[in-house]
Symmetry: C2
Subunit: 669 residues, 2 copies
């Protein structure tokens, strides 16, 4: 049977980078990490060194969404040989402890030891997924975004261009140096008055110009009467003018490789954010970045371990050189943006929550170490606050709610929840600390929407036997619950009267258990039928965690609307975005009181709107200008300053809500 | 007795960088270089590998001005242990061969071997010289340059400034991000409309602003209504706003560290150009740069081995952090400029001699790897052709000939000779391949003007015994002749009738010898009295080489003036610049027909005019604009296109000239 570590996935293991740590210290023990994939990595640890820390330094991926505070119980590893000083915790049963299971975060090295790391590293690798573009579904959403934005009067045109430039070949009578010769020729070819040649081009132009006898194609960027020469290519080359749109989520990173001339998607891929081994949420990441070399480590985790491999993979799939990517657009939250550029993110988390930048235009790929054309401009979708970032402004752009008369609510369910409400006349945004529950975090059997995840379910009211829909090939056994599965599960448990409005188990049966402290749980899959070392079950703590998450969303909607003198029934449309998956059952989400009770056909799942927003910004200079308009016109509401928020939140932590009147379409028995 | 390698000095030996080469090859031999200073360096060489190449790869400095063609005879090393496959050449006598002397460039490794490298590396180190600024002489020339340029109406003012910027401390009610907050505050403080924050500053500003509670000083660069924030410092800091002026010569590099606010020189230093181990002249350097990784090696030799140590030394002496150097001005010839930026210099040497750039404004210190403030702008004095570079335009600026009604001739005697003739109305420039003779190259006993160099001499006409002036402390023995010494020597040999107008020895005596081929030579110092393994002597080949050098200068003057319908007697003033030394005897230079026969009091030695020009460009934006005017207004005459040049050159290769009428003030017996 396959051992597993559930839930939010882990960092990345870099084969090129087997570091040995602690070598200079006086007492050293050898720690051998046996990865389930078969790989074995050696490290050295000082006496008493924390096992999770050793793994991090060695780039061995061990999942630790709580950042090593023994809170989440996900960093479980198995002792194979030797001993380790490890506290017992409630996350490991006596039987499991007996078998050698330990939490890495509470284990201290005090001898040579061999540790089995469950299949996280390879799970991570498999998650580097290049989409099959032949499937219309993969492209559809971007084409729809483009059509919507174009319908709003935004032209899909950008300032990158390939120009054929033919110069006089220099002679003793014509001794103009290369840079002036090219400048003049480009000016003549494009009707520009000021042509700039950046240093990187200056440095290499002599060879290229001579190789092609001063008859070349130039990749240029036009702006007003100015142009900048980005690259010089041969006259016959089929110059690929590519761009990269990238959504940097706290948990996942998704990207598109795009032909900038044709607007065609050449590759689409996604992977986990390599920073996850430094914590599941932005706060833990920021804290990690404050440690010595922390900023560099976090930047390295997202750039070298995540984005660069993703680019390599996509370029290989599309048969494009990364050097042909001349522009990049990033949509990420404010913390991700700061950690990406290597800026101090601490002020993002500390009152008064002032980041270094909302907008910045001065960044190029080489500044960040991103392996594309070094002088490629990096467009960053603007942040509007410490907790409403470029992912939301890009997503709002993609949703087109700024162009509609209808009152629309845009909800992005990422590692946190962000909301935008408004229409063509105004917009307000807020962020709520929903936590990582929608992506499977904070849930004992939670996981992301990958193979083995239960993405949907129903429960037979009489037998309490569930019918599950599991992601993966035919016969794939269940590992855990992803976001949409949790929504269905709680909705069904509630509908079947197995749990009460407070999320407490009130029926008895085979599948319902209570432990010695009285905590109830429901067995979704018995371990015999699961791809797991234990039963897949959901317990009252999980349900409570999820109810707080959904409560945070609903109360945020209520408070934001209240602040504008709106009520939830005045919402015309709801646009749901994020990694929760297209399988989300909107009826169930309303049933549990997560979304407002409006007509189900006014709910629209718009997928990864950050990525489709980034796609638009990359391809259209007008869209880039528009997103700044959108950002400037968006008010930010700091929920924690709203006196009613706490009461609203508490009232929302019920199924569906303490005020049933807010959900008139639901019938309760 | 101390062994020696004469003449132009060598590269640099980097203790940090003991590389072992050839390790991957099948047959390897160990080569141990014993430096005379006591250091020992090991390398590995493949069978048959050239010893000079092995030394270069290992960063062991062996002098090879002819770039390893067995032509100059300067790469002599001594076999200590083992054998080496080494051809005999005319540069090593039988006796010397017996003693173990070999030319590295013709030696092939075919066994483990131990090689003594004469005292070049340490000679090189001693040449890193920080000037004593208490000596008025060191400062004088720069103050004079400044006064002259100011007299021409150029203001000594630059666009760098330190501004106190006090911001509102952010709060929950004032959530402007750091970059906008600073931008607004700087705009308000300076009355600027557009303030730019470069990426490097963006990345680190959060910490600095918070450390000083949003009350800081900013180093800014102003231009029109725009400003750029270069650095952020504490409110109480005595912000040093420093600049670096640097003259990159083919042989030597000299620099000034300057307080940009006060215009005060904080340090002055000079060193050898580390590229010299790749050849003494620009052509050999370019050829070396075409080899694999050649551009990187040449750039590394000038940046990491030469400029960065020089900066470190000066900063240490002035007690300044290199990070406080916010601007840099480079004056170098066209090849040096191209090798500095890592551009392909091959077109500089190949017809039609078209470099990548004459002018470039897009370079910053970090582009070149120079260890100062990374975003420091690098001003490059403009080149006007492949053989008239920024050293000459900067030097011309410093000479102020562009501001005088008098007809002036500016002569820069560097590794080549460059001339500018004109006045406030016009200027023409040309370059002549004088070769490295003025710096001691191409002369068997030639050397640069360092300790042991004979810088002046007279000869007793009767006894033929010379009276020498040797650079160095009391009792310093002679090693060889530097440029000014060679001029004196040839002038005196001619005056005393020891050589004829063709440079052939025509008197007999103790000191005059003829070898078996009939080649005459004159012993300047017998080896017993010299700091050398052999007699210091000058032979007919040396004299011939020097006569071709001086002939190149004089004929260039003639041809350039002819092309303008001028004659040499119409020159009002001659400004002599370059490393030949302030000790140059102008009378003797006229005697040998090197300089035109005008009144001696119209000759002006202006020292290192490239460096004083760079000093002006650094401190004054108007001077920077002016040097571009000067460059644009300067015509370039390609001497090799002039039909009369060959005849003029041949006629000038006599003492003083075949047409004695050109030197009316000289009386000949």
């Amino acid at each position: 049977m396959q051992a597993w570590i559930p839930g939010i996935c882990s960092g990345v293991f870099d084969l090129q980078n087997k570091k040995q740590v602690g070598k200079d210290k006086e007492f050293m023990f050898k720690v051998t990490f046996q990865l389930e994939g078969g790989e074995s990595i050696e490290a050295f640890a000082a006496e008493g060194e924390n096992l999770l820390e050793v793994a991090r330094k060695t780039n061995v991926a061990i999942d630790a969404p709580c950042s090593g505070n023994a809170a989440c119980g996900k960093c479980r590893v198995k002792l194979i040989k030797g001993e380790i000083d490890s506290k017992k915790t409630s996350h490991i049963s006596d039987e499991e402890y007996e078998q050698g299971w330990r939490l890495a975060c509470v284990s201290k090295v005090d001898a040579d030891v061999e540790i089995m790391v469950p299949d996280i590293a390879s799970a991570y690798k498999s998650r580097m997924k290049v989409a099959d573009l032949d499937s219309a579904k993969e492209i559809e959403i971007f084409e729809k975004t483009k059509a919507d934005i174009e319908a709003a009067g935004i032209e899909f045109k950008n300032d990158l261009e390939v120009v054929r430039v033919t110069m006089e070949v220099p002679s003793l009578d014509d001794t103009m140096p290369d840079n002036e010769r090219l400048t003049w020729a480009v000016e003549a070819a494009c009707g520009m008055e000021h042509v700039k040649i950046p240093f990187a081009v200056l440095k290499t132009m002599a060879e290229t110009l001579r190789k092609y006898n001063f008859d070349v194609q130039c990749v240029i960027r036009k702006g007003g009467d100015k142009a900048e020469v980005l690259d010089i290519c041969g006259p016959e080359e089929q110059v690929k003018l590519c761009g990269l749109a990238i959504d940097i989520g706290t948990t996942s990173v998704a990207a598109l490789l795009i032909d900038m001339k044709k607007g065609k998607i050449l590759a689409k891929a996604s992977t986990g954010n390599g920073q996850i081994r430094f914590g599941a949420d932005v706060i833990n990441r920021i804290i990690e970045s404050l440690k010595p070399d922390g900023k560099e480590k976090l930047q390295d985790a997202i750039v070298s371990e995540t984005i660069n491999p993703l680019i390599k993979q996509m370029c290989r799939s599309a048969k494009i050189s990364p050097q042909k990517i001349y522009r990049m657009c990033v949509a990420g939250n404010t913390t991700m943006n700061h950690l990406l550029v290597g800026a101090d993110a601490d002020p993002v988390r500390m009152e008064p929550y002032i980041p270094t930048f909302y907008e910045t235009t001065s960044i190029h790929a080489h500044d960040l170490g991103i392996n594309i054309f070094p002088h490629a401009r990096v467009i960053m979708a603007p942040n509007i606050g410490s907790y409403v970032g470029g992912d939301i402004t890009a997503g709002t752009l993609a949703s087109c709610i700024w162009n509609r008369p209808e009152m629309s609510l845009f909800i992005d369910l990422g590692t946190n929840g962000e909301l935008v409400f408004g229409n063509e006349e105004f917009m307000m945004s807020c962020a709520c600390s929903a936590g990582p529950a929608f992506e499977g975090g904070d849930i004992s059997c939670g996981m992301r929407a990958t193979d083995g995840a239960i993405e949907a379910c129903t429960i037979d009211k009489d037998t309490m036997i569930p019918t599950l829909s599991v992601i993966g090939d035919e016969g794939q056994k269940a590992v855990g619950l992803c976001g949409s599965g949790i929504i269905d599960m709680i909705s069904e448990l509630f509908r079947c009267g197995i749990i009460d409005p407070k999320g407490k188990f009130i029926r008895e049966g085979d599948r319902v258990r209570h432990d010695k402290y009285g905590m109830g749980s429901y067995v979704i899959v018995f371990k015999e039928d699961a791809a797991s070392v234990k039963d897949v079950e959901i317990n009252e703590v999980d349900i409570d965690n999820f109810m707080r998450a959904k409560g945070a969303i609903f109360s945020a909607i209520r408070v934001m609307l209240n602040s504008l003198d709106f009520t939830v029934d005045m919402i015309d449309d709801v646009y749901v975005a994020g990694g929760i998956g297209s399988g989300i059952n909107m009826q169930n989400a309303v049933n549990i009181g997560m979304f407002p009770d409006i007509s189900r056909d006014r709910f629209h799942y718009i997928g990864n709107s950050s990525l489709s927003g980034a796609y638009a910004l990359l391809l259209s200079n007008e869209a880039e200008a528009k997103v700044h308009d959108v950002a400037h016109n968006m008010t930010y509401l700091e929920l924690s300053n709203e006196p009613t928020y706490m009461d609203e939140f508490v009232a929302s932590c019920f199924l569906p809500h303490t005020d049933a009147g807010l959900f008139p379409s639901l019938t309760f028995k």
